[in-house]
């Protein structure tokens, strides 16, 4: 409605000023009232902005800029009006125009091209404030086109006599370089000259800032400038500049170790002398991340860190912790010296400080103290808010599982710790715990009895079923209890737990794991009932007397037996009792599963039917013999027994982790051409679509969708269980491809005096406690009296889940320089795409040559005012050349990259500082 009519005189006369607009917005409450006011004002603005009167237009743009920047109103439509204002001869309008442009223009704004001429005009203006406006605007909205067109103007300004202008043009360069890399060739020399002219502090800050940014992206090119940076480091008294120079050295030192010797001294001087905490902290950071080999420097840095840690200022304490974290990889003693503070910080009010402290505590963990530290941390987790509690659990889980549970010696303890974690009310790490429970089960044979015990404890607790966060853990517990049921003291108890009514709270995917575990438990019970092994069961009495918390000796003893014996040896019962209880179990199973046989979830339905089928068959046959209690000799010949025997054989097979590359290792048989004919086949049976491996599709990866190995195990497992026929196939497969499965490790069992994994009496968690224990385990390096050696952990040579490498400091160098190179290549590629490269190539070649020939001149020119160094001159000239060369080369590499040919050139590092 308003857009069409031109602005009337009334509009101009009674135009709302910016102040009116702000007051108006303040009068309206946020919400509908305010937004309707804003849209009304926008209508006005749309009208006013078309005015020929600059005052009216400027006010309109001002108001629009305000709305855009604080109320998120789109103003891209007004871009042209902003450009119009910039061309006004009046500074005040020009300013409004430029501000609007710099706040609202985006790289795609089409009127940017219109701005080019105006910018050029203003850049060469005699009024320094107009130049400054143009520079500031350019530094924000610069595009490759603008940068290319305006590079000559900036080049001129770099030697401008007015420092006010010069510093801004230097700061603007960074943006120009980023948008238009060829500008480096034109302007770099002048930038370096500004670095060298130590006379004015104003431009130095800008220059160093630009170099700091450039060096952080690709430090190698700036190595030749090291002497200049060194001079600034020693001479400058401006903390802002010093901080930036320190950052530059942090990058350079990684490339040129010889720099360190020279630079460490002055950095330490600053650290000792400076009053400014920011500078001191920057020195600390530089020392501990780049110069950690210099013992005296690190000592000094750690002393400073300690001052920070003990300061009353929270910010300093936070930074102190961060500093410690940086030292930790190379100098763990520094953390130990300050461990009281670190541990105290675990209960700080500030989340950020707590997190840093937690990271530090985790950095102290080793195989000697992991038990104690985890005990204390669990205590903290119970006390903390949910968020931090989970953070603690997460870091414990990831630290303990690092490198295939490298630091865990006592797996029984660890497994029960996992069980304990599940019971922490806020625990939300179900997925990870689930993964680890199953992973450990497959990798560490010795821990299976304890694993089953932990699983049982989790399963029988009905309260846990109500917490959706730990459903995943329950799924793992169910799988473990089914898979390793032979280690269970009371299989019936597990069956009851799996059948409890509250399991209907579980999602279908997990319920089907439950049901499949029932199948395994049932077949195990039937097997031990129908086909008991003779001879092994004499030593044990009725297992009802044995508490779940029992001695470990039996399970160990069992363990030494061959596998099939183990299956039944735990399960000792007199036949009469067995018969009753088996009968009970079957009845119970059938009653509770029958309603599920029509479940909508196919997964559940199918599995339930499998279990029911087996259970009903068994019930029939067993109840037939019910009367003949004493005459169970023919049990072996029952139909059930035969089936059970087959099933049990299938279930008996132990699943180990399979490496991801297992498939690749299967040799292709002679004469089999995999890729041939398939296309023809496709056209032949276009309508006879074979259901491709349907059995696999139906079975969802229930347990671990993220994990390859265990998934395939799981699937294999399920297949074998659900379809009896497949058993033989599986066995066949195993026989043929046995070599691709990991060999099951021979079990070496040591003494059995195993301390209870988690003594409830030891649960007090004092700060002193942890302090003391870290002292013991870390300072004295005292090995705990291990009652038994670390069990065998099946490891794959490749393809394990987290190939985490513990970052050692010596690796850091490679990693970082590699990353920097990556970043560089990445950005260059993108930069390059902006430039039509092929055409410009020839040109730039000649340019480089020109520059190289110019180098001589420039260093001569410089020598006039640079005679204070004793014998700096020669070296300097070298360095100047070296630098030019390396810049030229840098360019050359850039071009090469653009063409897809990476020219690897050895960096020449001149000996400046030695």
């Amino acid at each position: 409605m308003s857009g069409n009519g031109g602005p009337s005189l009334m509009d101009s006369l009674f135009q709302r000023t910016l102040e009116d607009l702000i007051k108006g917005i303040r009068l309206h409450l946020p919400g509908a009232g305010q937004s309707s006011f804003i849209s009304k004002s926008l209508d006005e603005i749309r009208r006013e902005i078309k005015s020929t009167d600059l005052q009216t237009k400027s006010t309109a743009v001002q108001k629009l800029t305000y709305l855009h920047s604080l109320h998120g109103v789109d103003m891209s439509w007004a871009a042209f009006h902003a450009v119009e204002l910039t061309s006004s001869p009046l500074f005040i309008y020009k300013k409004t125009g430029y501000l609007a442009a710099s706040l609202s223009f985006r790289p795609s704004t089409d009127v940017l091209l219109l701005l080019t001429n105006q910018l050029r005009k203003d850049l060469s203006s005699t009024n320094q404030h107009e130049v400054s406006l143009a520079l500031e605007c350019l530094s924000v909205i610069c595009t490759p086109d603008l940068a290319r067109d305006l590079t000559p103007d900036i080049f001129t300004l770099l030697t401008c006599g007015k420092m006010f202008i010069r510093k801004k043009s230097i700061a603007c360069l960074l943006m120009i370089f980023g948008q238009y890399p060829d500008a480096v060739r034109v302007c770099f020399k002048r930038l370096v000259e500004n670095l060298e002219s130590s006379d004015n502090a104003q431009t130095l800050a800008a220059t160093v800032g630009v170099f700091c940014e450039l060096a952080s992206k690709e430090p190698r090119s700036y190595l030749p400038l090291a002497p200049e940076f060194y001079r600034i480091l020693v001479e400058s008294r401006n903390n802002w500049v010093l901080i930036k120079v320190l950052k530059i050295f942090m990058h350079l030192a990684k490339l040129e170790p010889r720099l360190a010797k020279k630079v460490v001294e002055p950095i330490c001087d600053h650290m000792k002398r400076s009053e400014a905490k920011s500078l001191v902290f920057e020195c600390v950071r530089t020392i501990v991340s780049s110069f950690y080999e210099y013992e005296f420097a690190v000592k000094l840095a750690v002393a400073k860190i300690r001052e920070f840690l003990l300061d009353s200022d929270l910010n300093l304490r936070y930074l102190g912790l961060q500093g410690l974290l940086l030292v930790a990889p190379s100098h763990l003693w520094a953390v130990l010296e300050n461990k009281e503070v670190v541990i105290k910080s675990l209960s700080d009010v500030d989340q950020n400080i707590k997190l840093e402290a937690l990271r530090l505590v985790m950095s102290m963990v080793s195989d000697n103290n992991v038990v104690e530290i985890c005990r204390v941390l669990i205590g903290y987790a119970l006390k903390s808010d949910p968020e931090f509690c989970n953070e603690i659990l997460r870091s414990m889980l990831s630290t303990c599982s690092r490198n295939v549970y490298e630091i865990i010696i006592d797996f029984d303890w660890y497994v029960s710790l996992l069980g304990e974690m599940a019971r922490i009310p806020h625990c939300q790490n179900g997925e990870e715990i689930e993964y680890q429970l199953i992973d450990i089960g497959m990798r560490v044979k010795d821990v299976r009895p304890e694993l089953v015990r932990v699983g049982r404890d989790l399963l029988i607790d009905p309260a846990l079923l109500g917490n959706p966060f730990i459903h995943r853990i329950l799924s793992a517990a169910a799988w473990v209890s089914g898979e390793y049921v032979q280690f269970s003291r009371k299989p019936f108890e597990i069956m009851e737990a799996l059948l409890q009514p509250r399991t209907n709270l579980l999602p279908p995917s997990i319920r089907s794991v439950y049901i499949h575990s029932m199948f395994k438990v049932l077949s195990f019970c039937l097997h031990s009932f129908l086909l008991p092994e003779k001879g092994v069961n004499t030593s044990l009495s009725n297992f009802d007397d044995i508490e779940p918390g029992f001695t470990y000796s039996e399970s160990e003893q069992e363990f030494t037996e061959p596998d099939h014996a183990t299956r039944s040896s735990t399960f000792q019962k007199s036949d009469t009792f067995m018969l009753e209880s088996i009968d009970n179990v079957l009845t119970q199973l059938i009653t509770s599963l029958t309603p599920l046989a029509d479940n909508h979830d196919v997964e559940i339905q199918e599995r339930v039917r499998n279990v029911l089928g087996l259970a009903q068959l068994a019930q029939q046959e067993i109840s037939c013999h019910h009367d003949l209690k004493e005459k169970m000799v023919d049990k072996v010949n029952l139909k059930t027994s035969i089936i059970i025997n087959i099933i049990n054989d299938a279930l008996l097979e132990d699943f180990g982790p399979i490496p991801f590359s297992a498939q690749e290792r299967v040799p292709i048989p002679d004469g089999l051409v995999l890729e041939e004919n398939l296309s023809k086949l496709d056209s032949i049976c276009a309508d006879v679509r074979l259901p491709k491996s349907e059995s696999f599709c139906l079975i969802k990866p229930v347990l671990l969708p993220t994990d390859g190995d265990s998934n395939s195990n799981q699937q294999n497992e399920e297949e074998s269980g659900t379809a009896v026929e497949s058993t033989s196939l599986l066995a066949e497969h195993r026989k043929r491809h046995g070599l691709f499965y990991l060999p099951s490790n021979d079990k070496k069992i040591a003494s059995s005096s195993f301390p209870p994994a988690n003594d409830p009496n030891q649960r007090d968690n004092d700060v002193e406690d942890l302090v003391k224990l870290t002292e013991e385990s870390l300072v004295l390096k005292r090995k705990p009296n291990l009652s038994r050696p670390r069990p065998v952990v099946v490891k794959l040579d490749e393809g394990d889940r987290h190939p985490i490498t513990v970052k050692k400091t010596d690796e850091n160098e490679d990693l970082i320089s590699g990353a920097v190179r990556d970043v560089l290549l990445g950005t260059e590629a993108s930069l390059h795409s902006n430039i039509s490269s092929s055409r410009r190539k020839g040109k730039s070649h000649s340019k480089v040559n020109m520059e190289n020939s110019e180098t001589g001149n420039s260093s001569k020119r410089r020598s006039k005012h640079r005679d204070h160094g004793k014998n700096v001159e020669d070296r300097d000239e070298n360095s100047e050349k070296g630098k030019k060369k390396s810049v030229g080369r840098h360019k050359a590499r850039r071009r090469a990259d653009g063409d897809g040919v990476v020219v690897v050139q050895k960096p020449i590092i001149p000996d400046f500082l030695l």
Binding site: A171, S278, E282, L314
Partner: protein, 143 residues
């Protein structure tokens, strides 16, 4: 790029000044500001002034009813940024005389002007209050 954005936000979480040194769309800005404001304003005096958010580190400080939030990249020196915030406030104080939220609201252009003198491209280029304020004083005289 050291500084990536500067925000001034009042106690109610309303943005009073926003200066970005990298291009974000309006929508991205609004989400980012919302997240940061929620995170930082929930913190109290007993908590430190540094917050990590996405790829940014946010250094903030509260002066009276106004929060000054500066988003920097992870390499930046936190304490230096705190000093920068203080310098910014002192500079504004000198110009407005005990600066308050309303001063910044009604003189947004000037506030941006001061920032432009101090920071370009995310680099701190000027730290002398006299130098920062010189152009503005000239402008005030002229008008």
């Amino acid at each position: 790029m050291g500084i990536r954005f500067i925000l001034m936000v009042n106690k109610q979480g309303q943005t009073r000044l926003a200066q970005y040194y990298e291009y974000l769309t309006l929508e991205e800005r609004r989400t980012l500001e919302g997240e940061i404001v929620r995170k930082c304003l929930a913190r109290n005096e007993q908590q430190c002034s540094f917050v990590e958010h996405r790829t940014y580190k946010i250094v903030y400080r509260r002066y009276a009813s106004l929060f000054f939030l500066v988003g920097v990249d992870n390499e930046e020196n936190e304490l230096a940024i705190l000093e920068f915030i203080h310098l910014l406030v002192e500079t504004m104080d000198r110009h407005f005389g005990n600066v308050c939220e309303l001063d910044i609201m009604f003189h947004l252009e000037k506030a941006h002007f001061m920032l432009e003198e101090m920071v370009m491209n995310g680099c701190i280029v000027e730290t002398s209050k006299n130098n920062i304020l010189a152009p503005i004083q000239l402008m005030d005289k002229a008008s």
